[in-house]
């Protein structure tokens, strides 16, 4: 068989297996997250499968409603687009994609992450829920000091916040992502893995496994970058304390407010898969253990270690308030400075 066709067949099979495992596994993560938070708050909490798995199934079978949006078809398309972007983000991290047009590199990961971020800007600018300005009854008080002010939907304000978070909030994550590539002196994920785990090759036997000999996480710049990466992970997931663009107390759900039924299920799939994708990327880049769908030992190790970030996230969420931009700007600047410090230190390794 032609080598190219064989490679493409392996790529397709590995992608299907990887996505199937990742999707199923990612549906368990919200349950673990919620259970830990509940225990911290002295509550029993929901069953593990309830918030991820069963809620997605439930929403898929709910009666479909048309979202109120400026362009409803575009608004609905964004969910499918988001799931696609996050799936590719995860797949670029798997070994067979490392050989595809340079997508398995910092460029592929950063590109997909930026696309994922921009989706929230589009969602926010589209959604027009009844929760803010479109009340079905007259709602302006006679005698108001400000009778003719431009009124904005909450979701549109959320879109503006998303833009700010894109510019400032997520910067530390990208700086932290660069550190393993600086240590490996390459832009390819494959080189980063081999630097830490020289015995690993995607073409090894399916029963084989190899442990990393020099994980970047256990170096000074790697450790600093890991902390910055974790907080960037929180920003990307829009979780507390960086949940300003969908703060319950004002923006409610932000741009995703109008998604219901199957679209809501799609949004949960996207969010859960993003959580696992970012965790898996962390294990690949900072520990040198990739998610190889053809090596059960490797992908199981990756999956188990990927729990680190969601567990840490649960604890952080349980003990954090929501930051406003008064706190977010200095935090993002401080984290970016730490990220730059990690990069400078990484140059000396």
């Amino acid at each position: 068989m032609d080598a190219t066709i064989l490679f493409l067949a392996q790529l397709i099979v590995s992608s299907v297996i990887a996505l199937a495992i990742a999707t199923l596994y990612s549906l368990v993560l919200p349950g673990i997250e919620r259970k830990i938070q509940a225990r911290i708050q002295q509550r029993v909490g929901p069953p593990i499968l309830m918030p991820g798995f069963w809620s997605v199934i439930k929403f898929m079978y709910k009666a479909r409603t048309e979202p109120i949006a400026q362009m409803p078809r575009f608004y609905k398309f964004l969910i499918g687009f988001g799931v696609g972007v996050v799936s590719l983000l995860f797949l670029f991290n798997t070994p067979y994609w490392w050989f595809m047009l340079g997508w398995g590199s910092i460029l592929g990961i950063a590109g997909m992450l930026k696309l994922e971020e921009v989706i929230y800007v589009f969602m926010g600018s589209q959604s027009q829920s009844i929760m803010s300005t479109s009340m079905p009854v007259p709602d302006t008080v006679r005698g108001s000091k400000w009778p003719n002010i431009r009124r904005e939907f909450n979701e549109q304000h959320s879109a503006e916040r998303s833009l700010k978070m894109m510019l400032i909030g997520s910067l530390p994550l990208y700086l932290a992502l660069l550190v393993p590539f600086i240590v490996a002196q390459s832009v390819n994920i494959g080189s980063v893995v081999v630097t830490q785990n020289p015995a690993y090759s995607p073409f090894n036997s399916w029963l084989s496994f190899s442990l990393p000999t020099s994980p970047i996480l256990f170096t000074v710049p790697g450790f600093i970058a890991a902390i910055v990466y974790f907080l960037g992970f929180v920003v990307m997931l829009n979780e507390k304390p960086f949940t300003i663009l969908k703060a319950k107390i004002d923006m409610i759900e932000g741009g995703v407010l109008e998604y219901a039924a199957n679209l809501r299920a799609g949004y949960y799939l996207m969010r859960n898969l993003l959580m696992f994708a970012l965790s898996s990327i962390f294990v690949t880049l900072f520990l040198g253990i990739p998610f190889d769908p053809f090596m059960p030992a490797m992908f199981l190790m990756n999956m188990v270690l990927s729990l680190m970030l969601p567990i840490a996230l649960s604890v952080l969420v349980a003990f954090s308030p929501i930051f406003t931009f008064r706190q977010i700007y200095p935090t993002a600047i401080g984290l970016s400075a730490l990220g730059v410090l990690a990069m400078i230190l990484a140059l000396s390794i």
Binding site: T133, V141, I149, I249, P321
Partner: protein, 393 residues
Amino acid sequence: MTEANNEKMIEKELSFGPVHPALIEPYRIRLFVNDEIVEDCEININMAYRGMEKLFDGLPVEKALLIAERVCGICSHVHAWNAVRVIECGLGIEVPPRADYIRVLVQEFQRITSHLIFFGHAFEVVGHETLAMRALLLREQFMDLMQYVGGNRVMPSVPIIGGIRPRADLTDSLKKTILERCDAFEAKYAQYVQRILDDPLVISRVNGIGLLTKEDAIKYHATGPTGRASGWRYDLRTEMKEYKPFDFNVIVLDGCDTKDRVVDRALEVLESLKIIHQVVKNLPDGPVVNRNWVAKEMPFTTAYLETYRGEVMHTYGLDHQGLVRNYQIRTPTITNLAAMEHACVGDHVTEAILTIASCDPCLTCCTRTEVVDSGKRRTMTDYEIVRKYGWRK
């Protein structure tokens, strides 16, 4: 960008509610903002009408006073107590000292539960679920105590005209239980408050926002802890004869911000515990109710009481048959509304919602009668209502 008057430029309006998961009651907040900064705020209430005053009209006084307790689920005892204080004052009914002590006891139980539910709501708005859950968990002990005393967690129905219900009298074992629960609560509560004050993330969210100066507090008639956290020393309990036997401090802080409104309530809980200890230890012997009274014509009489959110007013009269006429209630939130609107200015949008929550609004309780007539909307005074629709037959 729109220029609406000569002083400020406003970029846009953001409105929240009345259907909104963060607002526990139906009201609407209109924020006029530049980017994230609130330049002005309007709070529109009047979304839920219950017509309480009309319900009272023409009812026998004992029956009517049961409705008073239903004005609010958090300060039920306040309304029940102040409703009976009106007739006791108007007809000169003597209340046995033991009954007064037990009324004060339930009042302070409910003050603690009210302040703890305030913490629950405020920290939910801050986004700190764990502190919110812990507050509600701590509150359970006093909800239980209210049930032990009054027979119900939410509507204990302790005061009646001339005293308290005999079932609410304290036994020795109940007194012991109250003291034990209070001691256990005090230790846990101190840790809870210390944790709030030690948490830099939480403090960064509440410190220096929602500024309401003493002058503004007085100007806008801020009452209760909202006014006291702005340095205004005003607590009606210091003037009430029912509170004369007890030694407690009025907590007055001068930070004028959201943090001080939280801390003021936190310290008031400790003062309430002090009062509860004094009630239980110094409870006088004697009857708990004076039934030596008859409902008869009574001129319009007014009574004021310091509730957990500020000053509440009840006023009504009795006709020659002893039926209630022209009942009026003014809850503290009405007088705090303008202060809330003012305190939001200059904050970020997310902080503005917290500032409103920090004034502990109870908006459904303060919504009064409204009549929609020929497409024109206006609030009628009770006199106008009586004149137009007559007494309830």
